[in-house]
């Protein structure tokens, strides 16, 4: 299949905060304007706009992308909004990629925004309607249930302890202390802090979970001939993949994310990656809960099934380890404004590969990284591979 080469050439973001004073539209503009500024482009240089944002129930605004569009620079342009739940933040740049790879557009501005704080009394309320209205909702479920059930399935399958998993929360919150936009960076957090935090839905405790967050992130994507004109450090999209598992989630093996593996296989094939553990230098797997980072590292085939916790304990996934994982600080540390959180991971790989990650820069000049997000009813995997070689 003939495809044009596509690069990310700029990135920008808002602070990730518990409650922004800005409206959703204003947050989108802050991120979009920073991304354009970072590559010295203006809205006139942009051919099309991709908007990523999660449930409209968060904002109480129907047709949310129309509401957001002015803040995303969508006025007078072809605009599309993609939505695959928590997977949206990585799916949006995939959409940006095929807009350009197809030859339809030379430049695309991708903006992901989430303002969760509007939803009262708690944004979990916006998630209650993901459960089946007849067979599940009468049981009074909340969102924590599915994570707790999945975490327990994962722990039981491989005989893992809470301590094995808490190490991820510690690593990511410490990493986030070096991120200038982070909500929950903490250089001094310990495993004991995580293990002693309030039990919400055992095995899930307070510090196993990422926070409710407001924020936005934007990237500029361009065809090769534009990218080379705009920057001497284009970061190429080498592969993309996405996959959806069945919505009959109570029938699946919850201990392994098969759909992430399928999405990764699609992306790796496109990128020519045959040995991901050797050919991928940094990873930003989706970490809304600490066990999810481990789950996803295994789905991305970067560790054997059930072995990501051991690698974490050995320090392999530390910023100075053999495979730095979530050097940004992840959703656990930087924050989790749903769609924006996924694109934050893509932006982190972009900055890391350009050597611009500041205090978070991983050593050894990484040449290729993978970002992944996850969502819907625990069933979608979205994967993007970026490289500079």
């Amino acid at each position: 299949m003939a495809r044009n080469r596509v690069a990310i050439v700029g990135a920008g973001m808002t602070q990730f905060v518990r409650r922004a004073q800005e409206t959703a539209k204003e947050l989108a503009w802050e991120a979009a304007s920073k991304a354009l500024e970072s590559c010295e482009m203006t809205l006139d240089d942009i051919d099309a706009v991709v908007i990523g944002s999660a449930p409209e129930a968060f904002d109480g605004v129907h047709m949310k992308s129309e509401y957001l569009s002015d803040g995303c620079g969508g006025w007078g342009k072809p605009v599309i909004r993609g939505y695959v739940g928590g997977g949206t933040g990585v799916f949006a740049p995939i959409q940006g990629w095929y807009h350009v790879a197809s030859g339809l557009f030379d430049t695309v501005l991708v903006v992901c925004e989430e303002k969760m704080s509007s939803c009262q009394p708690h944004p979990q309320g916006a998630f209650l309607t993901i459960f089946d209205h007849t067979t599940e909702r009468p049981l009074g479920p909340n969102l924590l249930w599915i994570f707790a059930l999945e975490m327990n399935a994962y722990m039981t399958r491989y005989g893992l302890s809470k301590r094995d998993i808490a190490l991820v929360s510690v690593k990511n919150r410490r990493n986030a202390a070096d991120h200038p936009a982070a909500l929950l960076g903490d250089p001094n957090i310990t495993v004991e802090d995580v293990l002693n935090s309030e039990v919400l839905a055992w095995p899930v405790q307070r510090l196993d979970v990422s926070p409710v967050t407001d924020g936005a992130v934007a990237v500029v994507m361009a065809a090769e001939h534009v990218a080379r004109r705009v920057t001497n450090k284009p970061v190429w999209v080498e592969g993309v993949g996405w996959c959806l598992d069945t919505a009959y989630w109570t029938n699946r093996d919850l201990s392994y994310p098969t759909y992430v593996e399928e999405a990764a296989r699609m992306a790796y094939k496109m990128a020519g990656i045959t040995e991901p553990r050797k050919q991928i230098h940094i990873a930003e797997p989706y970490d809304p809960f600490d066990y999810k980072e481990l789950h996803h590292l295994e789905g991305l085939m970067l560790f054997d099934k059930g072995k990501a916790p051991e690698a974490t304990a050995l320090g392999i996934t530390q910023r100075d380890g053999d495979l730095p994982v979530c050097p940004s600080g992840g959703l656990l540390g930087v924050g989790n404004p749903i769609a924006a959180a996924g694109l934050m991971k893509v932006a982190e790989i972009f900055w890391q590969l350009r050597g611009e990650a500041g205090a978070r820069q991983v050593p050894g000049q990484p040449k290729r990284g993978v970002a992944q997000a996850w969502g819907d009813l625990m069933q979608v995997g979205t994967v993007i591979v970026l490289g500079v070689s």
């Binding site: 800005e22 327990n152 009959y248």
Partner: protein, 167 residues
């Protein structure tokens, strides 16, 4: 990259608690009447009669629960309903101490996936456990449905109050 982070203006929880912030609130008036559907309609009717049923796929031969009118793997219509037992095995569970709005519960709820006897391996449904010490719940535990009395049943998943240990 610090220069590419916008200097976002943010508020503290205290700003909201002390009413220092002006905002509008709105409570949506949204009501829905859902159809149970072909397969779940039968499922509910059988629950009212005190029975659990699954469906049989003629292509892969699996017995699926919750019932569905087509097998999503084979993408063919199912060829009939199959009676199941009201016993099963705990696949995974949680001890949930909070409601969706983070209000703390006095007694934790115990949601669980329960693989139902008579269905194919791995065919679980979401339900609750009861009449059990939360600390004693284990993956692999054998459980049985505790039904509401017939006159209280209304054709709903809650016609089963919860599952309790078999022993």
């Amino acid at each position: 990259m610090k220069e590419w982070v916008y200097d976002t203006v943010y508020l503290s929880e205290k700003d909201f608690e002390t009413g220092r912030v002006l905002y509008e609130t709105w409570v949506p008036n949204a009501r829905y009447a859902w159809d149970a559907g072909i397969a779940i309609g039968r499922y509910l009717a059988e629950l009212k009669a005190g029975r659990l049923v699954g469906v049989h796929c003629p292509s892969c031969g699996r017995v699926l629960v919750p019932p569905r009118m087509f097998c999503q793997d084979c993408f063919v219509p199912i060829d009939g309903f199959v009676p199941l037992q009201d016993t099963g095995t705990v696949v995974t569970f949680s001890l949930c101490s909070v409601r969706w709005d983070m209000v703390r519960l006095e007694h934790p709820l115990i949601p669980a996936l329960i693989a139902i006897d008579g269905a194919s391996p791995g065919m679980g449904i979401l339900h609750l456990l009861g009449e059990v010490d939360p600390q004693a719940v284990r993956v692999g535990m054998r459980v049985r449905a505790v039904w509401k009395p017939p006159e209280e049943r209304e054709g709903a998943i809650t016609d089963i109050r919860y599952f309790k240990p078999l022993e």
